[in-house]
Amino acid sequence: MELKRIIKFEAERDPEFSRWISHTVGGENIRHCLQCGLCSGNCPLSLYMDYTPRRLMHLSREGFKEEVLRSSSIWLCTTCYNCMVQCPKGINITHLMYALKQRAIEEKLYPKHFAIPVMARQFSRMVRKSGRITESWLIVRVFMRTAFWRLLGMSHLGLKLFRAGRLGLKPEKIERRAEIATLLDSVTAVKKELAL
């Protein structure tokens, strides 16, 4: 039998993480969280989560960085905004889920070949290059990098969609594509200048 201490000592918490979450956009009210559980009760995904939204809010503000960033919950969130519209303290929980996703991607704390960060990266590359998303190619690119065998299994479905005229192979593009790259580079520059 392997025994493990499950309670943490205060000194093991990460105060930087705690500060970060309450200063991030949407987290201004996290200190006021009542732990009422309306968020978890309304979340259609909480059934599948290791830490429900209520627990995640508490763990975040108390600085349990590892637990939070390795939690499956941040990837299960579909951003349906149920929690946020119900929160009596106006905590922008959905937005915090986005912030936690970004932080987990930055710190590379997610399983290998995990589809969500791969999809996010391919999505942003496609937007930068073409200004628009061509869904068919996005799907192909994501599965090439995550679960190639599933792509083969999906060929039947792909054919059906193609026949229904729902999978265009012609890449969608905007006219002034260069504008998008300039715009995105400029965002990076301004962010750096303002230290955001």
Binding site: L45, T78, C80, M119, R132, A164, S186
Partner: protein, 291 residues
């Protein structure tokens, strides 16, 4: 008044039937729309998890383009509608975000504007055209076709600009005006799982299953949607979806397809043939005329 029509990427791909039918509805009801010139992807929910500031700038470009045309935007896709609205809220609430959006847009010669109203077709049809005018133009009534109205999440949450966040009724009323019978559908704003079917399939198939099973139990003959991703999930993965029912078979249409049908548009011009779950058997059973 002419609106700047902002289709978004899905309406040019998997959701083509939404565009085809919506434009047919607008034409039949004399709502003047023109596609926003050189619009770009709004970033959807995906871009937010990579770089939220960049996603506000991307949405900001579309708002700036519409401002230059001096038009309001009509955005049928749920994700686009939310992202454009959200950008306006966040630019208004957070000075840093405003600075980033304004300065990055300036680098491509555009000016951010908060004067553009981001509107949804449901709301334009309900408030600008009106139920009476719609009823008066119905050529082929839906003859009591039982419809489960499924709104999904992002049309009404978090910004309930024109309807209730948990119990919206705008689509119910529009379809009733076309002769449909609305069934009580308490899951109308429950999440379909979004892109979860692609990333965490087991979970996605559960969520899709609940929605379909409930619609079937309530006696619905059709599910009506307002979002390209909802329609895709419920239609394309219907066979795989996990439910407590022996089998589920229920066509999933855009609300605009049902309206266009009632307004007399031909079936192939509004993408009825693009649904994987066939639609014509139920139309034949109800003796709803279509060309």
């Amino acid at each position: 008044m002419t609106y700047a029509y902002y289709p978004g990427c899905s309406l040019k791909g998997t959701g083509r039937a939404y565009e085809e039918s919506l434009l047919a509805v607008f034409r039949a009801l004399n709502v003047d729309v023109r596609e926003l010139e050189d619009w770009n992807c709004c970033g959807a929910t995906t871009y937010m998890s990579v770089d939220e500031l960049a996603s506000y700038a991307l949405a900001g470009r579309n708002l700036a383009l519409a401002a230059r045309e001096n038009k309001d935007i009509v955005a049928p896709c749920a994700a686009c509608y939310l992202v454009l609205n959200k950008t306006q809220h966040y630019v208004h609430d957070y000075p840093d975000i405003k600075t980033v959006v304004e300065r990055s847009l300036a680098s491509i010669g555009l000016t951010y504007s908060d004067k553009v109203h981001v509107r949804h077709p449901l709301e334009i049809l309900l408030n600008e055209v009106g139920l009476q005018a719609i009823s008066a133009r119905v050529k082929s009534p839906l003859k009591g076709l039982k419809v489960a109205p499924y709104y999904g999440c992002q049309i009404v949450r978090p910004y309930a600009t024109f309807d209730d966040q948990l119990n919206p009724t705008s689509m119910d009323r529009l379809l009733e005006a076309c002769g449909a019978k609305i069934v009580q559908y308490p899951l109308k704003t429950r999440c379909c799982g979004g892109s979860q079917k692609g990333t965490l399939p087991e979970v996605g198939l559960d969520l899709i299953g609940y929605l379909l099973a409930e619609a079937q139990k309530r006696g619905a003959e059709v599910v009506a949607t307002v979002c390209p991703l909802c329609q895709f999930n419920l239609d394309v993965f219907q066979k795989e979806a996990r439910t407590d029912q022996k089998s589920v078979s229920i066509p999933v249409l855009y609300f605009s397809q049902l309206m266009a049908l009632a307004l007399g548009a031909p079936a192939n011009a509004i993408g009825l043939q693009r649904s994987l779950v066939p639609v014509t058997p139920i139309l034949a059973k109800k003796e709803i005329a279509y060309a």
